[in-house]
């Protein structure tokens, strides 16, 4: 069976600064992987490069998604094929209502896959049911994308999109940042509903706290641009006690 995501020997530079120094990661369908590590270890860089954010220079290695080389694909092609990045800091887009944005994005993905556009009533029905489950009032969707949203509302809006687009790979970049415990629980519940044997998740986080709510199958520790240790969910607890310092020494 082909892995859903295979990252092999990935080296990435920003300007002349190498951030990832040969990273390997394999994620199969149905698995939830947590990537932990201190600030500056390259966790977010990995998520950005998988999603296709400009400004990163891949100097070695490859990223295969469903066996295809994603580095050759534009970000929108990756999205249409099922890659979804939930942003650490979702942007605000004044003048574009969330509704319009969701419909445009969903139809763009469907079009890229050769599927017919969703009719407005079907689309509305879909959005309404997903929004209800995430406690997102429909009024909020009539406002500009994320404009005036709280941190928790922005993250819920990301999960709403995830639920709507049904991607096969969800990368959650520091989903817990800026959330209090109640907001975190709502967001985590939204994510857990989307766990399925057809979908994999990569949960990037600095803190173990999030992993109490989204329990991973595998945990990887990143330090200085490499995966320095991999294990089961117990590794996260271990880290909580001993901290990242041990790995920083190892990587150096």
């Amino acid at each position: 069976m082909t892995a859903l995501l295979e990252v092999k020997g990935l080296k990435v530079q920003v300007e002349d600064n190498e951030i990832l120094h040969g990273l390997d990661l394999t994620v199969n369908q149905g698995e939830v992987h947590a990537i932990m590590g201190p600030n500056g270890s390259g966790k977010s860089t990995l998520s950005h490069v998988i999603a296709g954010k400009p400004g990163y220079d891949v100097t070695a290695g490859e990223i295969l998604f469903k066996g295809e080389d994603v580095l050759e694909m534009a970000p929108d092609e990756r999205a249409a094929k099922g890659v979804f990045l939930a942003f650490q800091y979702p942007v605000e887009i004044p003048g574009v209502t969330t509704m319009n944005f969701l419909r445009t994005a969903l139809n763009a993905q469907r079009k890229a896959r050769g599927e017919a556009e969703l009719l407005v009533p079907d689309f509305l029905k879909k959005v309404r049911s997903v929004a209800d489950s995430l406690n997102i009032p429909m009024d909020m969707l009539k406002r500009g994308v994320n404009v005036g949203f709280s941190g928790g509302e922005k993250k819920r809006n990301e999960i709403l999109q995830m639920a709507l687009f049904q991607p096969s790979l969800c990368i959650l970049d520091e989903m817990d940042s800026g959330l209090d415990i109640d907001a975190l629980r709502v967001a985590a519940d939204g994510v857990n509903v989307l766990r399925s044997k057809d979908r994999a998740m990569v949960v990037i986080t600095h803190y173990q706290r999030l992993l109490n709510y989204i329990v991973p199958d595998f945990v990887h520790v990143m330090s200085k641009g490499r995966v320095v240790k991999s294990g089961g969910k117990e590794l996260a607890l271990e880290l909580e006690e001993s901290g990242y310092a041990q790995f920083e020494d190892k990587a150096a």
Partner: protein
């Protein structure tokens, strides 16, 4: 540029222009005298050029070279083509007053279906009415001394004179539609609108080309008085042919406790300038103005606004946006004058340019002339490309690059279009912006 060399040939051409136009120009006696004075003024100045401060960024000697001869009076075929153009505008919700090649066309207008309280006469008819002692005043302007205003007064062939009665609220917008059917000629028009005290109305101006009309020049002016307590929604939609020129002037006087909300869209013309002179003549009035220039190729669009706070306690807000592609050039000049007595004035202007190409240019010249000491005035400007982080967000959600750009541009323009109160006109402006976006491919 050697102005001395250029000018004599221009003078010569101008003399012929006026002579040739004589038979087309309505009004004798005092009207003819006013025209002659205006024309002499224009000949003395010639087309404005870069050494004239107000025209520094829009050098008409370089951009226009000369004033094209007047368009011939439209024949039946021209009216038929104009009718088609009016129809394809797709705005059904207005009371239209159609000017074809600079001539009022009642047969294409809604003259018999005007709302009660709206009185319309052709400018030509008023100028030719020798019993009307003030007819020549219709061609005079006191607010600004400007070569193009003089040219307009000298050569205006027609226009409409609109009177809206005091205290009424119009259900439908009054809509002047300028249609060009001829190529390489000038359309010179002048219209006047008087909004009675306490009246509420929407006034629309559209500029369009009939199929096949190319390289023409529109020279329009509109003079508006807003009575005390009146509210005017003014929407201007310039969608002239892409190789045409449009040099237009708006002169507005606002009474006391009145409101003016203006929106200008420049979505056509190779060379265009809209210069607005807005004067607060009564206390407690408000002005909001929004403008959008959508320019591509090597097109040049200039919006120049002079807001004169001549009296105290008035508020003005100007937000001007431009979206520039290829080697387009957008100009915004905004001057706010606060007279010595105009205390408690609150005047602000803002310019935002979206540059889609490295070779596009946006010039911005704000000027504050403040002679009172208890006022709030300010200006700001931003210019830049589309935000990369917003583009990536949209692309990460599946939007191809061109669609992501289009969505962000539409949002940028949409914030201005939101200021249009009338639903149909707002939809029309949105559609116009979408048409522009579609041409980008």
């Amino acid at each position: 540029m050697n102005v001395a060399l250029v000018k004599p040939t221009t003078d010569h051409a101008l003399g012929e222009l006026f002579a040739a136009a004589q038979s087309r120009l309505p009004g004798s006696g005092t009207v003819a005298e006013v025209r002659q004075i205006a024309f002499d003024d224009f000949v003395r100045r010639g087309l404005p050029h870069r050494r004239i401060e107000e025209w520094k960024y829009t050098d008409l000697r370089a951009l226009l070279r000369e004033v094209a001869p007047l368009a011939p009076a439209p024949d039946q075929a021209a009216f038929a083509r104009a009718a088609k153009a009016v129809k394809s505008l797709g705005i059904d919700s207005t009371q239209k007053l159609v000017l074809v090649d600079g001539v009022f066309a009642p047969q294409l207008s809604d003259v018999t279906a005007l709302e009660a309280g709206v009185h319309v006469r052709a400018l030509r008819e008023v100028l030719e009415d020798n019993d009307n002692k003030v007819r020549a005043d219709l061609l005079k302007t006191s607010v600004a001394s400007d070569a193009m205003i003089s040219l307009n007064a000298a050569l205006a062939t027609d226009g409409v004179v609109i009177d809206v009665a005091e205290g009424i609220a119009l259900a439908k917008p009054v809509h002047i539609v300028h249609v060009a059917t001829n190529s390489s000629t000038s359309l010179v028009t002048r219209s006047l609108l008087k909004v009675g005290k306490g009246a509420h109305m929407t006034f629309v101006e559209s500029f369009v080309a009939a199929e096949g009309a190319e390289s023409y020049q529109t020279h329009d002016s509109v003079v508006i008085w807003i009575g005390d307590g009146a509210e005017l929604q003014h929407v201007r939609l310039m969608e002239d042919a892409l190789d045409a020129a449009n040099i237009s002037t708006g002169i507005v006087t606002i009474g006391a406790k009145a409101k003016l909300n203006t929106f200008n869209l420049t979505n056509g013309g190779n060379v265009s300038r809209y210069q607005g002179f807005i004067t607060f003549a009564g206390e407690g009035s408000e002005l909001t103005t929004n403008g959008v220039n959508l320019l591509g190729a090597r097109r040049h669009g200039d919006t120049t606004l002079v807001v004169d706070h001549a009296v105290p306690h008035c508020t003005s807000r100007e937000v001007f946006r431009s979206v520039l592609d290829d080697r387009a050039h957008s100009v915004f000049q905004g001057r706010i004058i606060v007279r010595p007595d105009a205390q408690k004035t609150d005047g602000k202007m803002m310019t935002r340019a979206l540059l889609l190409s490295d070779e596009a240019e946006a010039d911005n010249k704000p000027e504050l002339e403040i002679f009172a000491d208890d006022v709030t005035c300010g200006h700001g400007a931003t210019a830049g490309a589309l935000d990369e982080s917003l583009l990536f967000y949209l692309r990460a959600r599946g939007l191809p690059e061109n669609e992501a750009q289009a969505l962000l541009i539409a949002a940028f323009v949409g914030e201005a279009i939101e200021s249009i109160v009338d639903d149909n006109l707002r939809d029309f402006a949105v559609a116009a912006a979408e048409r522009w976006l579609a041409t980008r491919g």
